[in-house]
Amino acid sequence: MTTPVPVSRSVRTVPLWAWLLAMSSLLALYLVLQENGMLLGQAAEFIHEFVHDGRHALGVPCH
């Protein structure tokens, strides 16, 4: 067994880009599952109707 190599702080903390990626994934989740026209307006209707089965099946509130 080798002795553990000291890890620098920059390697040990979650990088900023990863948090930003996580935030944009959450925004995308909102657009797929929750958007009712508040942000996207008309385009929301297309997304909404296409994934309509999925929204109900995943237990998300729906009209």
Binding site: L29, V32, V51, P61
Partner: protein, 251 residues
């Protein structure tokens, strides 16, 4: 330090999400579709309400595919977030194998993001739900999930704080988890009830069947994510897989 390589972790999170999404999509097709059809038949039998939104923008088969695509997309996005949170947890929790850590994180995510809102605001099939209250229901649902995640963090902090006071593991677990459950009970009372009545033409048996099917799809998604990601990041599982490949590959 592959265990901390963020890019690889994110790629594995997305891959685990893809696998979990495919499993959830199959559950959607094989199990959720049956009560879905029964609910749609009830909805179609009603006289069209004035000013109702067009439900026939897409054909029925397209919507079935859409439901499966939604499961896969949602699972991949959750997988990416899962990988980032996993790395954050891995910096703090060391006495655990990567596989066990992934399973624990998935279990906590399932409890806070699925079980908590499912008990307070159970899933409803199409044909239940007033379009006028959807924004209100959405904010109640999202805020309850946020509260569940805060409770998970509080439990984590309490567990660590008690460790510094040298409490034995089981006692820390009981106090941290028990406290979170009590606070979840308080949240159930504080959060408002779903304002929508269940229409009288929707049978209780269909509602029950629907909610079990929905819970099954979400459980498949989170189980797939926890197990899939755990196998992809666990060093011993990776070594074993590499050994298998080396044994099969011609030298």
């Amino acid at each position: 330090m592959t265990a901390y390589d963020m890019k690889k972790l994110v790629a594995r999170g997305a891959l685990a999400g893809l696998l979990a999404g495919v499993v959830a999509a199959l559950v959607s097709l094989l199990i959720v579709e049956r009560p879905m059809r029964a609910a749609l038949a009830i909805e179609d039998a009603r006289p069209a309400a004035p000013g109702a939104r067009g439900g026939d923008l897409f054909s029925r088969p397209t919507q079935v595919v859409g439901g499966m695509v939604a499961a896969v997309v949602v699972a991949v996005l959750i997988g990416i977030v899962f990988a980032v949170v996993y790395r954050w947890v891995a910096e703090r929790v060391h006495r655990q194998s990567a596989f066990a850590r992934s399973l624990h994180l998935a279990a906590v995510g399932f409890a806070a993001i699925v079980l908590l809102p499912m008990v307070k605001y159970p899933a409803n099939p199409p044909g239940v739900g007033d379009p006028a209250t959807v924004d209100q229901r959405t904010s109640m649902y999202v805020s309850l999930i946020a509260a569940g995640l805060v409770l998970a963090l509080l439990a984590h902090w309490a567990y660590r704080a008690l460790a510094k006071r040298h409490w034995p593991g089981p006692m820390r677990g009981v106090v941290a988890a028990g406290g979170a459950i009590v606070l979840a009970g308080v949240a159930f009372v504080v959060w408002p009830a779903n304002p929508d009545p269940i229409p009288p033409d929707v049978p209780a048996a269909l509602l029950w069947q629907w909610r079990l099917a929905s819970l099954f799809e979400l459980a498949a998604l989170w189980a797939g994510l926890g197990v899939g990601f755990g196998l992809l990041v666990d060093p011993s599982a990776r070594r074993w897989a590499a050994g298998q490949r080396a044994a099969v590959a011609p030298t």
